[in-house]
Symmetry: D3
Subunit: 241 residues, 6 copies
């Protein structure tokens, strides 16, 4: 029995509010249950030094957590003067995931930065970030297409992410914080709409897992991502109205 | 004529949504028009080193702006590894303003941190932060009183803040971003409900101002703060239901 | 009765020693009583990135305090690896105050940096810094005029600053350290020779103040600045000999 | 055809030289072909703050790369003043992998730090680090057992790691640098001797991969780790002589 | 012929103004010609962690240069966020030199910090710092003896320092900036009153030097230090009046 | 009697293994007894900003110590976020020493960086670094000559370094760690093959030393460097085969 009463293969409610803020070229507030992440997509007509003059664009991400997004206040990274290893690991993962569905040559020499800021945390902040970032990126690219700055769509397909883990011996989908903090294994799965993986990261937290365990997590992830893809479609459609 | 069409003594719409997040002891999303700040109040049962063993508490503030709260993206302070002078100046002002209405001895040996994170910026983020922080602090202290951790209320009265400035020769109340960026003088006024000031900061940005000009700004500020005090009352009442 | 025995409207002795060091284009050692600040003005034939190619100059300031300028030693900011919020707030104030009397277009594409280093602190270090910085800036610009690098004087008038506060219920001028550390309200007033203000910053430290209180501080400031303007004139005249 | 001429399921030569340095409680120089990593295990009779007084120990890792371990010199992280996201990600992975085979209660209140410093890089530095760190940890714990500081062995079994990827369409084992830089997918697999996984991290670098592709990589990893386990045994046996 | 017209064995004018500032337990403004350094000695009744509980004291130094002490402005180390290698090297040298004449056991569990801040630089700032620091330390210890906090004098003798170098083929004493920047060899010599050395640092800057060259520099240093010892005596005597 | 049983004028075994790593243009593992330093020479076809366009090259050094090179683990400088004063002092010394034997004009507009990383420390790491760095630099320059990128050899002669000190009253050559930590005086001597000095740094650690003492250390250093020069020759000859 899960603390939330959910079935093992049951996602939390997925909410995606497009255009949550007004300055960014794309923005959403995404919720996986009580986990809430604000994602903005910012377009800049420049690329990082290593890409200058190569006719290619770049998609990158930054991640942050407001100090009191969590149960107890954690110190502000800007005040400490550096980003933690966890923060850097997460933002690298988000960036790679979005680049997996972007044709960087088709994007042209511009950079899109996805800022993922966790307003409230209850497990799964990195997977909500990736799933929301796709919508923000989609909206920003739609603006470029609408304005005639792009004529070919550089977004090749949808990407979504979800966490799965083994909680009290049972593989479960979309771990919330109480599950996450006591799961024996915990994985983050980044999937494309065509059923392939951009990233699998599965970590044993106590007991290790075998190949069969990993496969069961993969299948749960597939179910969860299908739901997220549908929610992404609804959000993009809603934003267009 | 103001860019927004407002009268010189007209505030923007004030919106205060209490309990915007669920982990903090107090939280609000405050809006002064399109400026939106999320403020959380976090109680910790410890005080900074300089107060240890003195039987007194502390109220402090931190301020941040999400990278794309602004028209163009600014870099993340956590990534740059330090907070700007502007950020530090603002968070020191917020902390002083709230301490002006808190009896630190009555608070006991605990610290309350007000985290003010700007979700969307359109001028007046520091004054919205102070005004919202009072509500978050009020809610957090109400929780301490309700739980019996405090028997005397350490909050002595309300505090609010508003900006005023001289825009195209006319003193105006509650500057938005287009006004702020071209005003000749720009002041932030922190007032208590009893009509006294906790802080006056008035800066000439082009033409300097005389005593009469300052007095006209003070009177506008008084009008604006009266509206904010009323909105604070409504928010606290709403949170109690 | 003030700890120093001064009358409420009495400044400390103002001493300004021009050309205190020899490498800077302008330099002074300014004293407000026992507060001693060394100010140097350095001219560089370049401007910060945001001004490049705009045909305008820049005036900026940096502030520091020697570790044992104070009663007890404080740690060296260079060793701690960052400047405090207080330091940044002060140097931003000094820079703004000097820019209020400089025609940046007339200055041309060059930068003048005012370094204000406190040798000995006894209250009022930021106001002594501003008042001394004007003399250093005047001397540096005189050198540019003398050398034919400038033909029009970009300094539009004099600027000075003084602190005033409410000490044991009485408004007093030019607070020294014993007064500063126990005043109920404490303000810094930056005035131009024409009687207008470039900056007013008045902070309640315990009891808040009302409009009448603020006006009384403004009037004291006006008296203090008149004395400082005279001392600045004498110093500039002395340097010319 | 692999650039090195190896068969798809062929590891590079594994060399493990125990006791490479003399001060550390355990040390090895491990080579996976031309990749050479020096790993030392340092025992300290203290634990990090979050574990104090809990009767448990801690195993952690730090990772570094000498500036000229690579084809072109990269800047020294100590000189830049911070560790890259990549470095932090790798050292977190190494630490988790070793903790997966350590009974921290049995270790008692002491910390063992595995320092993994890459002397020469040719792909697979993190997997060589994990595989070598196990030997260094084994040697350090053997010393504690020999000295009577421990009576129960806290190391529950062996752990090893290897990278696999899809190179020119073919799944291959133990990628070297030329393969790593052009592989379509790249995974790091951390396995225990009992056949279970402590960590799977598989990233698409260009084309995404499907479940079948992931399973083929898992099977190659299993073959590679079997070879590493044997090399670890030989190294521990050699050190004992 | 030296640029200043001095004889090869001629020091610049040595000026030592004791009690230059009033808060420090000891302070001097020392001048070697146009090089001016403010040195303060601060006593704290605590020792660094590595000495706690050992019944010994510590003497340490910090060094800084005001941004415009030099011909062209250099950036402020506090603003850059770190001290240069040169700064650290110099402050380590000053600390060692003073410890060479202090009986740390006799000092008791307290720390004396010598802050050496260069007001104006014209070569020889580190040797002026050491020579002035001895006077500041002497004054601070005299205060401890006078107040009865010490009954035995922990200062065992005098220490002074001077630079010597080979300028246009001739060994010269006390290099000023024009000499320093073109000397072929440049040494700093820290001597005790008894004729022994606490430190010799002689660096070839272009042509290397032989043993005979080094000996000639040593002899010049001995002459220079004799003059400095006399000036130190006069300063201490003057301060006592 | 020295702890190691060596005669006062006896060096430890000098071992120099050329081409220890394969990516660097020059590399050696140098040992002075149990002190082992890996030195690599990296050629880059660019110079630091202060030399751009001047037709000159640059030789510089960086120094690091692996965390467990020492008896007890010290923290990693990359993790602490800054290099210690000791590290910076040493790397500045190494750079100066190598530049003393390099004709920077003949080198052309390129930079050679000597990375000296201490694998195991037992006293004398800086002198072993300098002595090994010369071999790495020689090998790198030989490669430039062989490839026709240089036609004139910019290395003017050999440089070596050794430490000497006064241990229990006796001047001894090449201090190991037990001697170093209790010597009364400790010097580092950097010599050229022609018998001149590039650098002498002699520090009293307890008792100061007189001129005669210094001369005896100089003579020991001369004997030690003669041995190192011979070992350098053998290493370069060995690398050529």
């Amino acid at each position: 029995m899960r603390p939330s009463g959910r079935a093992p293969d049951q996602m939390r409610a997925i909410t995606i509010e497009p255009n949550f803020t007004r300055h960014a070229e794309g923005s959403v507030l995404i919720g996986f249950g009580e986990t809430k992440v604000l994602v903005t997509a910012s377009i800049e007509e420049r690329v990082p030094p290593f890409l200058r003059g190569k006719g290619e664009g770049w998609v990158t991400a930054e991640y942050g957590m407001l100090p009191r997004a969590t149960h107890t206040r954690s110190s502000r990274e800007a005040a400490k003067g550096k980003q933690s290893g966890r923060t850097q690991e997460i933002q690298r993962l988000i960036g790679r995931s979005l680049r997996a569905v972007t044709d960087l040559k088709a994007l042209g020499e511009r950079q899109i930065t996805l800022d993922c800021d966790v307003i409230q945390a209850d497990g799964g902040t990195r997977t909500a970030s990736i799933s929301g970032a796709w919508v923000a990126l989609r909206l920003a690219i739609n603006a470029l297409l609408r304005d005639g700055k792009l004529t070919t769509d550089p977004l090749t397909q949808k990407v979504a992410a979800v966490s799965c883990g083994i909680y009290e011996g049972t593989p479960v989908l979309d771990l919330d914080y109480p599950e996450d903090s006591s799961a024996h294994a915990d994985g983050n799965f980044v999937m494309l709409q065509n059923g392939t993986f951009a990233e699998v990261q599965a970590t044993a937290e106590g007991a290790t897992y075998d190949e069969e365990g990993l496969l069961r997590l993969l299948r749960l992830a597939r179910m969860g991502c299908a739901e997220i893809f549908a929610a992404q479609d609804r959000a993009v459609a809603g934003a267009a109205q």
